[in-house]
C-alpha cells in the first residue's frame, strides 16, 4: 500500500497553464463527430450528386427555384432556432403565416395600399408572438401546449378575416421581388434567399458571439441557474416569441406575393416542416445545444434534397420517408458514434490500467 507523499502535488489545471492543449487533430475529430458538421457534409454531398447525376439540377433557374421554394420555412427557422435553443418551441408559425397572408389579402381586397398593409401585418405578427410569449412566460404554461392552442386560434382567425376567398392580383412590382426569376444578378440567389442569408449571418452572430446568445444557451440548458445568474429569462423568451411571430408574419407576406394568392389555409403544416428542418440541423429540442450553421444546413438540405428527388421522379411518399429517416438519423448517428468511441476509450483505458 502506498503511503502518503508529503508534498501536495499541484492539482492538474490549477496552474491554469497546465491545461492539456487541444490539438488541431483532436479538435478536428471532435468536430467531425458532431451532427451539425455531418449535415453540412451531407448537404454538400447531395449537392454534388445532384450536379453530377441530374440534368436540369443546376440549370434553367432550377437552383433559384429550389432555394426560393423554401424561403418562408428558412426565414421562420431562424428565430425558431433561437427559441428552441432557449428550450421553447412555437408550433403556431404556420398558422401565423396563414393569418398574415389572409389579413394581407383581406386588407388588399378592401382597397388598402400595400405599403400600409405590410406594417399592419407585421404588427399583428408581433402581437401574436406577444400572446404566445405572455402565456408562456407570465402565465407559466408549457410552450408546446400554448402554441398548439394558438395554432388553432391563428388559423381560425385567418378563416375569420378571409373566409373561403382567395385574393389575387397583388402588385407585380412587389411580387417580382419574391419571384424565383428575379435573382441577384449573376447568381441563383433570389431576394428572399438573400434576405435569409443576411438574417442568418446576423442570427449566427447573435447566437454565438453575444451575451444574449450565451444567455439563451444557459436558459435552454438550465433555466433556474440562468435566472439565479441575473439573466432576464422571461424577457428574453418573450422577445424570442415576438421575433418568431414577426418573422412568421413576414414570411406570410413573402408567401402571399410569391404565390400571388392570399388564402386562409396558406402554410398549413409548415410548423412541422420548420421544426424538422432545425432538428435535422442538430438543434437539440431540450434546449441549450446546437449551432446555427447546423440549422441552416438542415433547412437547405431539406430544400435541395426535395428538389433533387422530385427531379428524379421520386414520388412524394418516398420523400416523406426519406425526411423521416433523416430525422431519426440526425439523433441516432451522434449517439452511435458516441457509444462506439466510448467503448473504444473504455477498452483503451482498461488496457492502460492493466499495464500500469
Amino acid at each position: 500500500m502506498a503511503m502518503a507523499p508529503d508534498t501536495r502535488s499541484p492539482a492538474p489545471g490549477a496552474a491554469g497553464k497546465a491545461e492539456p492543449p487541444l490539438t488541431a487533430g483532436l479538435r478536428a475529430k471532435s468536430l467531425a463527430l458532431r451532427w451539425d458538421t455531418a449535415v453540412v457534409a451531407l448537404l454538400i454531398a447531395v449537392f454534388l450528386v445532384g450536379l453530377g447525376t441530374t440534368d436540369g439540377f443546376s440549370g434553367g433557374g432550377n437552383l433559384a427555384f429550389a432555394f426560393n421554394d423554401i424561403s418562408e420555412v428558412a426565414l421562420i427557422a431562424l428565430p425558431m432556432t433561437l427559441l428552441v435553443v432557449a428550450g421553447e418551441i412555437d408550433l403556431s408559425v404556420g398558422s401565423m403565416l396563414g393569418f398574415s397572408s389572409a389579413l394581407a389579402g383581406a386588407l388588399w381586397n378592401a382597397g388598402w395600399a400595400f405599403e400600409t398593409i405590410v406594417p399592419i401585418v407585421l404588427v399583428v405578427g408581433i402581437l401574436g408572438g406577444l400572446l404566445n410569449g405572455w402565456l408562456v412566460t407570465r402565465v407559466g404554461l408549457p410552450s408546446l401546449a400554448v402554441t398548439i392552442g394558438t395554432l388553432a386560434l391563428y388559423r381560425g382567425l385567418a378563416s375569420v378575416v378571409l373566409g373561403s376567398d382567395a385574393i389575387t392580383d397583388f402588385p407585380s412590382k412587389y411580387a417580382a421581388w419574391t419571384a424565383n426569376t428575379t435573382t441577384l444578378p449573376g447568381t441563383f440567389l433570389t431576394y428572399p434567399i438573400v434576405l435569409f442569408i443576411v438574417l442568418a449571418i446576423v442570427t449566427a452572430f447573435v447566437l454565438h458571439s453575444t451575451s444574449f446568445g450565451r444567455s439563451l444557451f444557459a436558459i435552454g440548458a438550465q433555466e433556474d441557474a440562468a435566472f439565479f445568474a441575473g439573466i432576464r429569462v422571461k424577457r428574453y423568451k418573450l422577445l424570442l416569441f415576438v421575433l418568431t411571430g414577426l418573422l412568421s408574419a413576414f414570411a406570410g407576406i413573402v408567401f402571399t406575393l410569391r404565390y400571388g394568392s392570399a388564402r386562409a389555409d396558406n402554410g398549413t403544416g409548415y410548423e412541422l416542416l420548420v421544426i424538422s428542418a432545425i432538428l435535422l440541423g442538430g438543434i437539440d429540442f431540450d434546449g441549450g445545444k446546437g449551432t446555427l450553421a447546423g440549422a441552416v444546413a438542415g433547412i437547405l438540405l431539406i430544400g435541395v434534397l426535395r428538389n433533387l428527388l422530385t427531379l428524379n421522379d421520386v414520388p412524394g411518399e418516398v420523400q416523406t420517408v426519406v425526411t423521416g429517416l433523416l430525422l431519426v438519423a440526425s439523433v441516432l448517428t451522434p449517439r452511435i458514434i458516441g457509444a462506439v468511441t466510448e467503448r473504444r476509450q473504455r477498452r483503451a483505458a482498461s488496457a492502460a490500467a492493466a499495464t500500469t
Binding site: D6, A11, G13, G16, S211, A225, R346
Partner: protein
C-alpha cells in the same frame, strides 16, 4: 467501537479498481474492504474519487479494470438494480428524489409492498414510511410531494429510503452535509443500531469530527489513488488531514479582524407570507454576518427574497442606501449584490455548460463591448478564478457537470466572486467542500471582508458559524429570534435561539 473480527470476510470489497472518464483518471488501483458490523469512513479531498468509488460499488459505474467482490466472489453489477438486489443501499451525494411523487412513494419506488394480484399496498407504504420517519425523528408527512422539500428534508428522505432496505451494506455519500446537529445525531444513533445488527456501513463526510465520532476505520484517497486504510483509533485529525491533502493545514477558521465600514445591506421588515415574517437586519462593509437556524427555518428563503429571485410580500431591501426594486435579481446584481445559492445543481450552475461559460455567465455584460462576448476575456476570467480557488479541473472548456461536488461548489463561488460584489450572500458556502478547500474558502471570505466586502453567510455548520461570523443572526420558524455578537456566540446560545428556547437562555 467495533473492530472487524479478524476472521470475518468482507461483505463487499473492491480490488485494484480503476476508472477513467475520458482523460480524467478518477480511480487508480483502489482497493477497499467493508466488513459486517463496521462503520467505515472514506476520506479525501474534493475530486479524490470518493463518489466515483461508491458509484462503482453501487453498480452505477462499471470499473475499467479490477473487480467488485461480494462475499469474496467477483460480481458484475449491470446497474444499480443489481447492487440493490445484492443488499447494497446507497445515499448519493446529490439527492435523487422524484419531485412529483409523495415522500412515501419516493422511499419505496420499485419496492412497494404488494397485496394480491401484485397491487401496491398503499396503506403499508404509508405506515412503514411513518415508522421510518419517526425513527429518524422528523415529522415529515409521508403523503406530501417531494417537490419543494428543503435540501435537508430531501436528504432525510434519502436516508429513510436507504434505511428501508434493511440492507447488508449501507453506503452514504455526505449524508450530513445538509443536516444540522440534532438530525445528524439522530442519524448516527440509527447507524449505530444498524452496525450492531451487523450491517456494513461506508460513510463519507468532510466533517472530520463526524468521522471520528462514528467510524472505526478509515480509507483515504488522494487524486484517485489509494493512500491508506487503517483503524481510526490512535489517529488524530491532523494525521487524517495529512493523509488526505498530503501536507499540514493551517488555522481552520482564519478569521481576520476587519474594520467595519458603513452599512452595505439593509433589510427592513421583509415578509413572505407563510415562509418568513418581519425580518430586519443590516450588514456592514467588512462584516461577516452569519444567519443560523435549524433546517427549514427559512434562511434560504430570506436570502432569495433579498436577492430578488423570490418576491417578498412586504418590506424592502437597500444596498448602500439604494432601495432595490422587488423581484429583480438583475437589478440586485447591478447594485452589487451576489447570491451563492444552496442548490448548486439546479440553481448555481448550468451543468451542461463549460466551466468558463458558467463563470462568465454572471458577467456577460463585462466580457466585451456592445453585447459581444470575447472568448479570450471569458477564458481569462475563468482561469484567474480557477487558480485563486484552486479549482481542480481538466480543461476549462469541459462541462461543469463532470467536476466533483466540491469543485462544482468552487465554480459557483468563482462565478459570483468574479462579479466583485459589494454584498455577498452565501448559502451554505462550504457544503460538501473538503477541509483544505473549506479553509481556503474561509480565508477567502475573510480577506474579502477585510477588503470591505459585506458578507451574509447562511450556514448549518455551527463551528463555521462560530468561527467566521462577526455577528450571528438566528432564525426560528420564519422569524429572527436573536442577534448574537461574536463574543457571546456559543454553541449553546445559538442553538437555544434556533430551537426557540432563547427566552429561557436570555
Amino acid at each position: 467501537m467495533n473492530q472487524p473480527e479478524t476472521g470475518g470476510a468482507p461483505v463487499l470489497a473492491l480490488r485494484d479498481v480503476s476508472k477513467s472518464f475520458g482523460a480524467v483518471r478518477a480511480l487508480r488501483d483502489v482497493s477497499l474492504q467493508l466488513f459486517p458490523g463496521e462503520v467505515h469512513a472514506l476520506a479525501g479531498e474534493n475530486g479524490a474519487g470518493k463518489s466515483t468509488l461508491i458509484k462503482t460499488l453501487a453498480g452505477v459505474h462499471r470499473p475499467d479494470s479490477g473487480e467488485v467482490l461480494l462475499d469474496g466472489r467477483p460480481v458484475t453489477f449491470a446497474g444499480p438494480a443489481d447492487a440493490r438486489d445484492a443488499g447494497i443501499a446507497v445515499i448519493y451525494q446529490e439527492p435523487t428524489l422524484f419531485p412529483d411523487l409523495s415522500v412515501a412513494e419516493n422511499i419505496f419506488m420499485g419496492r412497494q409492498p404488494r397485496r394480491g394480484l401484485g397491487r401496491i399496498d398503499r396503506a403499508a407504504v404509508r405506515s412503514t414510511t411513518e415508522d421510518l420517519l419517526k425513527r429518524l425523528g422528523v415529522a415529515l408527512d409521508p403523503d406530501r410531494l417531494a417537490r419543494g422539500l428543503s435540501i435537508a428534508d430531501q436528504q432525510i428522505v434519502e436516508i429513510a429510503k436507504a434505511l428501508s432496505f434493511d440492507a447488508r451494506v449501507l453506503i452514504m455519500d455526505e449524508p450530513t452535509a445538509a443536516l444540522t446537529g440534532s438530525e445528524t445525531a439522530r442519524l448516527f444513533s440509527v447507524v449505530r443500531a444498524l452496525e450492531a445488527e451487523g450491517a456494513a456501513v461506508l460513510f463519507i463526510s468532510h466533517r472530520l469530527e463526524e468521522i471520528f465520532r462514528l467510524c472505526a476505520r478509515v480509507t483515504t484517497l488522494r487524486d484517485g489513488r489509494f493512500v491508506s486504510s487503517e483503524p481510526l483509533e490512535g489517529l488524530t485529525e491532523d494525521d487524517l488531514v495529512r493523509r488526505m491533502v498530503g501536507r499540514d493545514l493551517g488555522e481552520l477558521y482564519p478569521k481576520q479582524k476587519a474594520k467595519l465600514g458603513e452599512t452595505a445591506l439593509t433589510v427592513r421588515r421583509l415578509t413572505r407570507e407563510g415562509v418568513f415574517h418581519d425580518v430586519s437586519f443590516e450588514v456592514k462593509r467588512g462584516e461577516i454576518v452569519a444567519l443560523a437556524g435549524l433546517v427549514g427555518a427559512g434562511r434560504s428563503e430570506v436570502a432569495q427574497a433579498v436577492f430578488g429571485v423570490d418576491r417578498a410580500d412586504a418590506g424592502d431591501v437597500e444596498v448602500a442606501g439604494r432601495k432595490l426594486p422587488k423581484g429583480s435579481p438583475t437589478a440586485a446584481m447591478e447594485a452589487g449584490l451576489a447570491l451563492v445559492p444552496e442548490d448548486r445543481r439546479q440553481r448555481g450552475l448550468v451543468m451542461a455548460m463549460s466551466i468558463e461559460r458558467n463563470i462568465g455567465l454572471t458577467g456577460l455584460g463585462k466580457l466585451g463591448r456592445g453585447g459581444l462576448v470575447r472568448r479570450a476575456l471569458e477564458h481569462g476570467r475563468a482561469a484567474d478564478w480557477a487558480v485563486r480557488l484552486q479549482l481542480k479541473y481538466n480543461r476549462l472548456a469541459d462541462p461543469v457537470g463532470v467536476l466533483s461536488g466540491g469543485n462544482q461548489q468552487k465554480v459557483v463561488l468563482a462565478k459570483w466572486l468574479a462579479t466583485l460584489p459589494a454584498v455577498l450572500i452565501v448559502d451554505e458556502p462550504t457544503r460538501g467542500i473538503d477541509v483544505g478547500t473549506k479553509a481556503e474558502v474561509h480565508r477567502l471570505l475573510s480577506s474579502l471582508a477585510a477588503d470591505g466586502l459585506a458578507v451574509l453567510m447562511i450556514s448549518s455548520d455551527l463551528p463555521e458559524v462560530l468561527g467566521m461570523a462577526d455577528r450571528v443572526l438566528v432564525m426560528h420558524e420564519g422569524r429572527l429570534t436573536a442577534e448574537i455578537p461574536r463574543a457571546e456566540a456559543t454553541e449553546e446560545s445559538v442553538m437555544a435561539a434556533a430551537t426557540g428556547r432563547e427566552r429561557a437562555a436570555a
